[in-house]
């Protein structure tokens, strides 16, 4: 038997989204939470690549506006962890905070859990999970968060340009 966090961690095994959805599902079905590393930038800045998420089994009242939900994608059965920004006919609309388009609507039975904890560099991060989540969901629907990301990129490029110009003037 080998311990895998050094020899063959989740990253090295290259779990697919479908594999992760299966592991999350099997764990929450036992009434337990599931802890895993977030991959990607779709929920930036509230969830960053490499953050550790704890996904808890969903109670009916937990699936509320603005909550970050883990679900099985209705088309490819992969794990998706995005924010719930609306409900229609009992189906939940999910969207990444850093993505322009919503994922679409997922049925209740596809919901695997709710993100209750985010850890970054060994510390617990709460921004994006508290009462502000409702405002974030509202702004996400307007794609305002996407505009903020664009503004940050423009600001970064502008500062780089200034550095190059200043270096050339010396």
């Amino acid at each position: 038997m080998k311990k895998t966090d050094e020899e063959a961690g989740a990253k090295e095994l290259g779990f697919s989204g479908k594999d992760l959805a299966e592991l999350v599902s099997a764990t929450v079905e036992k009434g337990a939470s599931f802890r895993l590393k977030a991959r990607g930038f779709s929920m930036s800045p509230f969830i960053r690549d490499g953050d550790i998420l704890t996904i808890s089994p969903p109670e009916a009242s937990d699936i509320a506006l603005g909550k970050v939900i883990a679900c099985r994608h209705p088309l490819n059965a992969g794990l998706v962890v995005h924010r719930m920004i609306g409900v229609q006919n009992g189906r939940y609309c999910l969207k990444g905070d850093n993505v322009s388009a919503a994922d679409g609507f997922v049925p209740r039975e596809n919901v695997l859990g709710v993100v209750g904890k985010i850890e970054r560099a060994g510390r617990s991060v709460s921004l994006g999970l508290g009462k502000e989540r409702v405002l974030i969901a509202f702004l996400s629907r307007l794609d305002f968060l996407g505009l903020l990301s664009l503004a940050r990129v423009v600001k970064h490029l502008w500062s780089k340009k200034s550095e190059v110009r200043d270096a050339g003037n010396r």
């Binding site: 038997m1 099997a26 764990t27 802890r35």
Partner: protein
């Protein structure tokens, strides 16, 4: 319940464990304090371990498992028994396996 692992006892996978075969690897995630931790507490088994694991069905004693493995692997009965006991002891200590009450 006796804590000593015995060749005459039956063991099975604890209910507080998630085990799935993924990409040819058997992934074992113990649930500790209500959390299954993929980042810090995941195990995989090598081929030998997978063979032993597959026979832990809660019906056979470890002695019965040793007899089956004698037909599948080279090695004396003593060697195989030692491997099985060592494997089960480690998983029993980590509460991944539990003794089945008859």
């Amino acid at each position: 319940m006796s804590q000593a692992v015995s060749i005459h006892k039956i063991y099975e996978v604890s209910e507080d464990v998630v085990a799935r075969e993924i990409q040819g690897e058997l992934i074992i995630i113990p649930i500790t304090s209500g959390v299954g931790d993929l980042e810090d507490a995941m195990f995989t088994l090598n081929e030998h371990g997978k063979s032993i694991w597959s026979k832990l069905d809660g019906k056979k004693t470890l002695g019965g498992i040793v007899e089956e493995l004698e037909n599948e692997f080279d090695g004396s009965q003593n060697e195989i028994q030692k491997d099985v006991l060592g494997f089960v002891k480690e998983l029993f200590r980590k509460r991944i396996l539990v003794e089945k009450n008859r």
